[in-house]
Symmetry: C3
Subunit: 313 residues, 3 copies
């Protein structure tokens, strides 16, 4: 079995078997697996939205694969001169890069680019507006799989600002496809009925004791408008939707806590629980590097730039 696409833009494009293969490949990299490039290969990182974690995680993955990295400083780039993203991609291709890792605020920014027959370079989606964040989803899946060895029948609660979260959308869609039972919680006004397709909305207190995975979402204060920020009461949010020690005590001993980070300590989760024994928050970050190695290695394999065949077991 192999994953044939030269791009990685949307996890929904993949069959279940392909997703499991990517997870297994991520684990292999975590165990020290190495691949070797036939020639120098350049990858460009273009992050048009703030990101330490995702950007650095891709950077580490690229470096560990031996790729040559071109980090574009978007605040001084020609995009300021009105160049389209598509022309920027073709420029980088002309300069000699083979893979472009891009985060951009336009939902689905990649659609027209991957259809352009002059684009030969590979496109990796590191986040598209209100759309997907597929590499984050892959690392979330990897973290869950590491713990439980399966997705079927797992009770997953996703709690918080669902409507603004591209992580929530990607994760809900895929976890549902992979057989998990989904529960959603958080403020009503931050819920979006499209999630009804994948699971059930309920109060945090009603679902906490049956969850295998408590996935907390970041309150993205920077996305709220000024009025909402002023009205937002961190204490009240923490009381109603946050993971505090009371709720923690009701969790199953085998259950785990996840959060895409950065965490607002004392809002989504009590500060003392961020690094508790059931938390996988920093492990998610650790796994992210290996998940991204798998994403990139799979593309390199398809482009015939690796010496060896990759096996996924």
């Amino acid at each position: 079995m192999s994953i044939l696409s030269d791009n990685f833009v949307n996890l929904s494009d993949f069959y279940e078997k392909q997703i499991l293969d990517l997870i297994k490949l991520s684990e292999k990299f975590k165990q020290g697996y190495q691949v070797y490039l036939k020639e120098p290969v350049y990858v460009a990182n273009l992050f048009f939205e703030n990101s330490t974690r995702t950007h650095t995680s891709f950077y580490m993955a690229e470096s560990r694969l031996g790729l040559k990295i071109v980090d574009i400083n978007t605040s001084t780039s020609s995009v300021k001169k009105g160049e389209s993203l598509s022309d920027t991609v073709k420029t980088l291709q002309a300069l000699g890069t083979s893979i472009e890792v891009i985060r951009h605020k336009t939902t689905g920014w990649y659609s027209s680019i991957i259809k352009d027959s002059n684009v030969k370079t590979s496109i990796v989606n590191a986040g598209d507006g209100a759309g997907q964040h597929p590499s984050q989803s892959l690392l979330d899946l990897m973290t869950i799989y590491e713990e439980f060895g399966t997705f079927k029948g797992l009770n997953v609660g996703i709690i918080g600002d669902l409507s603004h979260s591209r992580v929530a959308k990607s994760d809900a869609q895929i976890l549902h496809k992979l057989g998990a039972n989904l529960y959603f919680s958080g403020p009503r006004e931050w819920y979006d009925s499209e999630f009804d397709l994948y699971g059930k909305y309920d109060s945090f207190d009603n679902i906490i004791d049956k969850l295998d995975i408590t996935m907390l979402l970041r309150v993205q204060l920077e996305r709220l408008n000024e009025d909402s920020v002023n009205q937002f009461k961190a204490n009240e949010y923490h009381e109603r939707f946050g993971l505090n020690t009371n709720r923690m005590n009701r969790m199953k001993p085998s259950s785990i806590i996840m959060h895409p980070a950065p965490v607002n300590r004392g809002v989504e989760i009590d500060s003392s629980l961020v690094e508790c024994s059931q938390s996988r928050i920093f492990k998610q970050m650790e796994n992210g590097v290996f998940a991204r190695m798998a994403i990139l290695a799979n593309i390199l394999k398809n482009k015939k730039l690796l010496f060896e065949e990759i096996t996924y077991e």
Copy 2:
């Protein structure tokens, strides 16, 4: 024959033979030629003006030559603390860099620096204000030479915002020296009588059918003041000075289209023509990496930092 200068700041400093040598060396790098460094060599990139293309192109060239790259983020640099460019250069030299690639808004910023006897590091001009952009000129020359094998007797039209374009100035000067016939077109108010030295101003429609090279210049909206921007009518510009399909049909079949990019699609050129078979716009970008490898390799040779002698054929 060798090119002796340790700096690369102005193509007018070079004899015709030296320019042809640099073009041939660029082509050799394009064919896969490699050079080897005797020791680790550090190069610093200091771009005080926005640039994706030129900055990344130098970065790729440096990386392909095996140089160690120090990219200075000018938005957080000490230049903000009032340090002169000359002291910044001597600082980088003290830190261990051997070549400084600099773009700065001051025309001729390099003059005092290359005369300073305490400066031992090599200076490469990646653009000086309203002055030159010599590495862009070299890649333009390389692209023309690849196509026609000569410059003598070629009809070259440079169309657009001539007065604001350092590319136009460098290119006109050198192409004239190398024996091309030059024609200029574009809005009268954007024409500058210094171009009379090198060729003839005429309307685009009068010259289009005799041109071998149609070199379009970018309308640099970011350089216009607010009044001019408001008055600027993209459609009208495109109608009078842009390359549309009508004019395209009048071009000689052997002729080529060039543009320093980024392109304003639908302004200087109809969007459908940007990647047409006669366009060399993305090829220019591709060639830019090899032209810059030649510029840097020539400096490395002069500094005796390469194992091998470079030959230019």
Copy 3:
């Protein structure tokens, strides 16, 4: 003898012998000494305050040691999303970095981080607010030691904006500990009585002829408030507290001039003296790379990441 700490945050933590060992190791690196890493090691640079010199100097030191460098662009980092510095450090650790080089405006920002038992990565202080700048102090010490072979009995004058200078504080403390005689000069309102612990305040003209080292401090105009900047008279400062040719002529022939840079030419020092034969200003920058190699190599040794034992002679 070995230096056991995995962090480098404050030179006052070190015994005299340890400081001398670090100076000697810096000199060894300057003479071409090399160390070899057992495995790929990643270091992150996080500079939350403007810096060309220190940032680039660490970058060069890291590169020369063969470290893999992750440069975090703090202007686009998640710190803007309200993440604490401590969580950023633990994030980078999770992503796979082993050493974090940090400059931050909070005095003593490192205290809580190095006490956090979840932090396994090493912390290097590249400047903490009004606190210390220990790597700058080490390079200052190295430059003095190179010249005089000892610190005991040397007359050191530190002249200028003492109250805003973390360099002055670190240097005064350590030079006093190492047996130098300290004199301070500069505007009364920029003097701080804590310096009375280490030496004596006097006028520049009273001390100039007995000094072995004249250490000028940068007037940090960017730290002054608007009123002070408007009142600040560069000529007057230069006349009273600057090193001009008159004062230069009164200096001992064996004495040297130091300045942490960037220099305000014509303010702290006459422009013609910046590169005179007694000036060590650019030599300080050169030494900085080797001092930082010593700092980092010592940490790498303690983490057992080097093949060889380091000897300090």
